[in-house]
């Protein structure tokens, strides 16, 4: 009656072994680390590593371990945060541009566990801290762009209204428009107030002439700034999400800053490259009417064009090309991008257009069949410079013509671009195009590790209080249900091990809401066993034999346990699908926990009960506390 077939015992053993192995990495501590990653144009060869080693040695900085993460990424482990910060500075100075150096918390999982994919749980920012980046947004360049655009538009609308002005220019204080007389000045002012209400106007006489200063109102400036910050926030959130970093905190800080907090033990170097990344694409038509070679030699660039060097595939020498300044298509019209392999076996990106840009692109390419179209890879570096105690930013555009191809037909909304230098570059570009481009470049101005937001001491207290609660439950179960209580305790422990193993295996991030979910499943696991044992006791009180009582107890309690667990599971699944952040974190552990707890509380305890009592024919008494 109370026997399990062999496969059930085997299943229980296999599951327990899986649980123990995959929860093991959580027992190893985390190291303070610095991660070094090479950009697409650089490599991390032995020479580079030796230079770093020598530089660290010369500063008497010792590292406990060097770990090669991938062909282009290395992690150095250090004893504490002070050494880590010093090492970070030294490595940054040594390597310079071309490498991303980022602070990190690294796991010390042994090789054999790593080889079977066993990794520790990622702990959230609240429990273990992580890495903090402070990003500055170059708001001034945004306002400058805005003013330049407004200048063109204002001159257009004045011309459209048939108003003759003497001069129009963009100055430090705003757009200055010079009118020949008072009457014209009033007309200009009227046009401005109607079409450009976001500008303030001041009229001053200058001899016979009048000067109208149009400037963005404080409100408009603030709006532009808020728009830029909000847009940057959402783009950064999308990018971090695309990276697969769990539970980041991206929040506005001050007027023009954004802080990004990432939990530890993730690829912070890559995260740093991606959150600060500005790579995008621009499509330009090639100017074939003028001779590029000649333009390069004489320095006389035809108006409306720009000279670029271009290295076609298979050729080592760059050739000069003239490209029209007009942008046929920019990265902002790209809604999706994935990395593929081009026909030549080199990395390529498959691009999907959207948002209205595709119609214009189809028309323009249709009108220019037979003409060459160039694709430029654009990166903008923003470097903060402190001038008289104030931070200013210098922008440097880094442009590279990646391909020029003759337009064979009007291009549809999905096509492939080639000429990217590496898979990594293609991957990063695709990710950035997918997540959308930043409204204005950002610079990482501060970087630091941060401690847990709940505070280390609070976590110690919390852990202590949970341990006390756990021990009280364990002891009480044993007193109240005797041997069966011990079984429930074993099942509870197994449930915890199994739950941690599954969460670690799935790469989930555990933060406080997740722990709340674990507590709930532990409570439900205890409840499942209490339900079973109370039923067995009821049967025993009714004079049923021990063997039959065990059978009936498990059977009757089963439907109750299934009903209550399935109901909670439905709720958890809905929260998992729709919820975000804390709600989702709670739902993840609850969903997995319900499944593991049903297994351990029902199948697990039953396996031991069957093993011990199942073969006893003359069983007269159960150690269940009555």
């Amino acid at each position: 009656m109370n026997r399990y077939p062999a496969w059930k015992y085997i299943l229980v053993v296999v599951v327990i072994v899986f649980g123990i192995i995959y929860s093991l990495p959580n027992l190893y501590k985390k190291d303070w680390a610095v991660q070094v990653s090479a950009d697409s144009t650089h490599t991390l060869d032995d020479n580079t590593l030796n230079t770093v080693r020598a530089a660290l040695a010369s500063q008497q900085i010792q590292y406990s371990q060097v770990e090669k993460m991938a062909s282009d990424s290395v992690t150095y482990h250090f004893a504490n945060a002070d050494v880590q910060l010093r090492a970070d500075d030294v490595i940054k100075d040594t390597l310079g541009e071309g490498y991303t150096v980022a602070l990190n918390l690294a796991a010390t999982t042994p090789k054999w566990l790593q080889s079977i994919g066993a990794e520790p749980l990622h702990l959230g920012l609240d429990l273990s801290g992580g890495v903090h980046f402070l990003m500055a947004i170059d708001v001034n360049s945004l306002i400058t762009h805005r003013m330049q655009a407004a200048e063109r538009n204002i001159s257009d609308s004045l011309r459209k209204n048939g108003i003759r002005y003497v001069g129009l220019q963009d100055t430090q204080n705003g757009i200055s428009i010079r009118a020949p007389d008072r009457a014209t000045a009033d007309k200009i002012s009227a046009v401005l107030s109607q079409d450009y209400p976001e500008f303030t106007r001041t009229l001053t006489p200058d001899g016979q002439q009048w000067v109208i200063m149009a400037n963005l109102s404080e409100q408009a400036r603030a709006d532009a700034q808020n728009f830029a910050v909000d847009k940057t926030l959402s783009v950064l959130r999308k990018r971090i999400d695309e990276l697969g970093v769990n539970e980041p905190i991206v929040q506005r800080q001050g007027v023009d800053r954004i802080s990004v907090d990432l939990p530890g033990i993730q690829d912070t170097a890559r995260a740093k490259q991606i959150i600060g990344g500005t790579a995008t694409l621009e499509f330009h038509l090639q100017d074939v009417q003028h001779d590029a070679e000649q333009a390069k030699e004489t320095g006389l660039i035809p108006p409306g064009t720009t000279l670029y060097p271009y290295t076609p595939a298979g050729i080592t020498q760059a050739i000069p090309v003239l490209l029209q300044d007009r942008v046929v298509l920019s990265g902002s019209s790209i809604t999706n991008a994935t990395t593929t392999m081009g026909e030549d076996g080199r990395p390529a990106a498959s691009i999907t257009l959207g948002g209205g840009g595709e119609a214009a692109f189809y028309r323009i390419t249709g009108e220019n069949i037979g003409k060459p179209l160039a694709i430029i890879y654009v990166e903008t570096a923003l470097t903060p410079v402190t001038v008289n105690g104030e931070t200013q930013y210098t922008q440097r555009k880094n442009e590279r013509v990646i391909s020029i191809a003759t337009i064979q037909s009007a291009l549809p909304s999905t096509f492939q671009i080639t000429g990217l230098s590496s898979i990594k570059e293609a991957n990063d570009l695709s990710l950035l195009l997918r997540a959308g481009s930043l409204p204005t470049p950002v610079a990482i101005i501060e970087e630091s590790t941060i401690g847990p937001s709940l505070g280390a001491q609070n976590i110690d207290k919390g852990v202590f209080s949970i341990e006390v609660g756990f021990i009280v439950i364990v002891i009480f179960m044993m007193i109240y249900y005797r041997f069966f209580g011990l079984l429930a305790d074993i099942a509870l422990g197994m449930n915890l091990v199994l739950l941690v193993a599954v969460l670690s295996f799935l790469g989930a991030t555990l933060s406080l809401p997740g722990i709340a979910g674990i507590l709930l499943t532990l409570g439900m696991a205890v409840d499942a066993n209490v339900l079973i044992f109370e039923r067995i006791r009821e049967e025993l009180r009714n004079g049923v034999s021990p063997q039959a009582s065990i059978q009936a107890g498990y059977e009757r309690a089963f439907s109750t346990i299934v009903d209550s667990n399935v109901t909670t599971l439905i709720a958890a699944l809905v929260l998992l699908m729709i919820g975000t952040g804390a709600v989702k974190g709670f739902a993840v552990t609850l969903t997995i926990g319900i499944m593991t707890s049903m297994f351990t509380a029902i199948t697990g305890t039953r396996a031991i009960v069957n093993l011990i009592y199942g073969h006893k024919v003359r069983l007269t008494k159960l150690s269940i506390g009555i």
């Binding site: 756990f470 406080l512 409840d527 804390a582």
Partner: protein, 306 residues
């Protein structure tokens, strides 16, 4: 060890009119206090100020936090920043207050030997999407469980369970509102936990009621519910008692930051246990639950005959 040697026969349902009136009154009071006082949203929801301060030597974070709380700052969160000598302090409050005052200097003035490194307003960490998606998720979760209960039990049970599911968090939110306790992400987690716990409790009682309706041919619905509550009483005391013990440990030893969480859990377990008997059980009876509604249809039990 046993709490009860024999089955108890306490007449729980005798008090049901009183209990239901009490629940209705308390729920109403909670709605009133929530609409007047609202919730004291935590730093994650409102944003606040971030102050970075440096100390001459490694500083005890808890000391910093308690010093500032004593100085009258609300929602103080302290983290180490880079090294142990630099701390990042986050304070709650509205944006306007922060911009007008030179809060960084004030904060540092309270801390012995600290120098101010930077002050900045920080935006809310939790976007509006958490509030909207969270609310939507809760409504759908409730709907989903109600459909399952309606399918497995009966629609009156589904309605009663849904009412109990609203009842419990409402009371907790009411308490948070009345005492103006900080409602942060941690409290939200506790609220979700309590709802899950209460739901579990409710289903256990329902399951026994269904079983007893099917088993016994006599007895009024009130008697059956009474019998079921009595039969599950030692289980209820055991489970609720144990969970309460664990949560009380959190309450007493868990430290300041877990206080909101622990409070919500303690209240939630007491209210959740009460509600599964007096709200869910009693409401199902009041809605006119009858034996016939729960008798298995012949289609359901083909295996009963050998």
């Amino acid at each position: 060890m046993e709490f009860f040697k024999q089955n108890t026969s306490i007449n729980f349902m005798a008090l049901r009119k009183w209990a239901m009136s009490l629940s209705a009154l308390v729920a109403l009071l909670c709605i009133v206090t929530l609409s007047i006082k609202g919730l004291n949203w935590g730093l994650e929801f409102t944003g606040g100020t971030e102050v970075i301060a440096a100390f001459p030597q490694a500083e005890n974070l808890e000391t910093v936090r308690s010093t500032l709380e004593q100085a009258g700052y609300k929602d103080v969160k302290v983290q180490s920043y880079g090294t142990a000598k630099v701390v990042l302090i986050r304070l709650g409050g509205k944006q306007e207050d922060m911009e007008n005052k030179d809060i960084g200097k004030e904060v540092v003035a309270h801390l012995n030997g600290a120098t101010l490194q930077s002050t900045a307003y920080i935006g809310p960490q939790v976007g509006k999407e958490l509030a909207t998606s969270g609310a939507l998720a809760l409504v759908l979760a409730m709907l989903g469980t109600a459909i399952y209960i309606g399918f497995r039990f009966e629609y009156r049970f589904a309605i009663s369970a849904a009412v109990a599911l609203i009842h419990d968090p409402l009371i907790i939110l009411g308490i948070f509102s009345y005492f103006q306790m900080e409602f942060d992400l941690t409290s939200l987690a506790a609220l979700l936990t309590v709802m899950g716990y209460s739901l579990n409790d409710t289903i256990v009682v329902f399951d026994r009621i269904r079983e007893n309706f099917r088993k016994s041919r006599k007895g009024t619905p009130t008697e059956i519910v009474n019998l079921s509550v009595n039969q599950t009483l030692s289980r209820t005391i055991m489970t609720s008692g144990l969970t309460l013990l664990a949560v009380l440990s959190l309450f007493f030893f868990g430290g300041e930051t877990l206080h909101g969480f622990a409070t919500a859990m303690v209240v939630g377990i007491v209210v959740g246990t009460y509600s599964s008997i007096y709200v869910a059980g009693a409401l199902a009876v009041a809605l006119g639950l009858d034996r016939r509604d729960l008798l298995p249809t012949s289609r359901d039990t083909p295996d009963d005959t050998p």
